[in-house]
Symmetry: C2
Subunit: 411 residues, 2 copies
């Protein structure tokens, strides 16, 4: 029985998860593949860090040893960031190794060059874990939706943001309190900027766009907004209307990309996605609307995506590698239909005049306020007036009644 040698770069949250999954499921993996598997080396940064239980593979702190000691067949990158991950992946591909990565920052920025290099070298570069953690979203898109054209994708792709918004709503705590808890629970990084500012979700959207349409939107044209400014009262006002605030990625086949907080109603497939879960709602021409929901992070879930990617290297060969499905970029007039918004502001600033201006352009459907707060929210359907409005927050609302779902355009 031949042997597959695997090198693991990084032994943090994800690396440790991969290590234990490969070890724990070794017999089943070997049975599925009809080959033995062995960890030929693990790369870490700090050799002085105390680690227990990593007896089954040599630990190295120099990358040279990873490729040099015993040429691996597969390299799994779980370091994160641009450098040295980019160099290590490049060198691994050049050495003829398949590479598996969970690194959305890197793939968003340099995926194209790495994919090209892999193709040149006749090896595969796969990265299911980089988008949506354990959810098999990339492989579903490429392997199970071959003839379906993806019209748009709507996703909750940052577990930390989703946890914070869920937690504020269910417990009534403030943004800083929810963020602190997210950090305590290990969901948010010590520096949570990428999560909170929407950058992590943006990188994942860029990976998705390249994966589905073969190209990315222009980085500077995407609208990217995080949840840093969301106030508890806004969430509570929305809840009175049966709406929940979600941090969404909205990408469509005209390559329009928005990453921002959006309100969704209780019929919307992303309404019930709570806590650290991620979800992707994929709208296609044939199937209609398919939603995948699951854990967007965590050692075991992410390891699941990586180990499944590993199996796919040996089970399907490269059948899907060079054959993206049929989705293509559509040129579309940017005609926006009237949509619905929740407008939130201080009661004292929202005059009858403001409401009259709004009624000229559309309809104020409902007004809600909180008993002890000075804020008021207006549910409004129509185009927003171009003149400045005295509201502190304006959130788009996605109503998912059947008719709207069919006509939907990006907000």
């Amino acid at each position: 029985m031949s042997e597959i040698k695997i090198a693991l770069l990084g032994l943090g949250t994800v690396g440790t998860g991969v290590y234990s999954s490969l070890l724990k499921r070794k017999p089943e993996i070997e049975q599925l593949l009809g080959k033995r598997i062995r960890l030929s080396g693990i790369l870490i940064k700090n050799p002085a860090k105390p680690r227990s239980d990593f007896q089954k593979a040599p630990l190295y702190s120099e990358f040279e040893k990873i490729l040099g000691k015993e040429a691996p067949n597969v390299v799994i990158e779980a370091i994160g960031g641009i450098e040295p991950a980019r160099t290590y992946i490049t060198r691994s591909l050049e050495a003829g190794c398949h590479v598996i990565s969970a690194n959305k920052d890197l793939i968003a920025r340099h995926g194209e060059e790495l994919i090209r290099l892999a193709k040149e070298k006749g090896v595969r570069f796969v990265y299911e874990a980089s988008v949506g953690g354990g959810i098999p979203v990339l492989r579903t898109l490429r392997e199970l939706l071959r003839i379906n054209k993806v019209q748009h994708v709507e996703g909750i792709l940052n577990g930390t943001s989703n946890f914070i918004l869920s937690h504020m709503r269910t417990t009534g705590c403030t943004f800083p309190e929810a963020l602190e808890l997210a950090q305590q629970k290990g969901y948010a990084e010590p520096d949570p900027t990428n999560d909170i500012e929407g950058l992590d979700a943006f990188y994942k959207a860029m990976v998705l766009s390249k994966w589905i349409y073969g190209v990315q939107p222009l980085w500077e044209e995407a609208e990217v907004k995080g949840i840093g400014n969301v106030r508890l009262e806004e969430i509570q006002l929305a809840e009175q209307l049966g709406l929940r605030l979600k941090h969404l990625v909205l990408l469509d086949d005209s390559l329009e990309l928005k990453v921002k907080p959006v309100l969704v109603d209780s019929e919307h497939p992303l309404y019930g996605v709570e806590g650290v879960d991620n979800a992707v709602r994929i709208q296609t021409d044939l199937l209609g609307c398919l939603t995948l929901q699951g854990p967007g992070a965590g050692a075991e879930a992410t390891a699941s995506a990586i180990v499944e990617d590993f199996l796919s290297l040996y089970e399907t060969g490269s059948v899907y590698q060079d054959k993206p499905a049929v989705s293509e970029v559509v040129q579309r007039k940017q005609a926006k239909e009237g949509t619905t918004y929740l407008l939130i502001g201080e009661k004292e600033h929202i005059s009858g005049e403001t409401i009259s201006v709004l009624q000229l352009q559309g309809a104020v459907l409902d007004t809600v306020s909180l008993p002890d707060a000075s804020v008021i929210a207006l549910l409004y359907a129509g185009d927003l007036p171009v003149s400045p409005l005295p509201f502190t927050s304006i959130y788009p609302v996605r109503l998912s009644s059947a008719s709207e779902a069919a006509e939907e355009v990006l907000l």
Copy 2:
């Protein structure tokens, strides 16, 4: 360029959808496969039925002509029912054709013999469309979750039942009114028994069980209950508690199967699955909980599953055919943990004594009633007393708080 000949059996809802999808997407399909495709014949029952627009393939009313005129490479069965579908599929497999089917009744009952025959003949028998319509649930389980062990599956697999329950809740109409609308909209069959009595969902669960675990539960041991007895007040009482009634399939790795109405809370991934949508929540050991949601029926969505199955025949060869993933049946002591129930009855029959009996075994968490109705509902946590209770309905409740989700056992 070589050619793939496709025969289509049946030209009803699904058959027509397949016909138009194959025609509409012919260029893309041919490009993906690198082969031409052609419809060699379509089987119908009633040659006198007026049909327009089926110019691209000969219509036959005798099956002999389908295999005899021009040997097809692939036969798509969209007739439904046991006979003559079983005979036609058998004869197609014997003739060396790959077969694609959407027929859950048949596959639940005779899938094993057809799978065996396909294997003997070196062809494939695939049936994604038989479970969950357009949702790629079977292929996700077998192709994307290879090393994940499926611990349990929870699904909304009958679109008609889900539509009826959703519609009663949102409009306040009665069961017969909702059923009539479902029939008008073409969701329910003229004879809706299989949908309403839970049999359609039961067949799909049987297909799923065989697919995941390689075996089916004993048919007579499964608990199968439909939605025929659900009253509007019950749905309204549940809603007061933030719960929604869903007709669920619950299958686990000890081969315990229940098909019945269950209440779920707003954090539960199936809570937001409304209308004719289907959804499957798959709990695995590594990934955790993955939920797929999408259209469970309809011409285009079902055609999507069939055409994707068709592509898979030629793109992955038979790699997954003989290699089910690692999920296995677990022997488990049937120790049930205390769960939560909604007990509904006539106010006048629920005495203080009844409540005392309940409190001995668990806790009455909440009591709700409707202003103008004589019914009352008790939310109860604990084992149900064995002595008969004066309630007209008892619904299990699935609360999806993180801790419960981890410990969950079948209700």
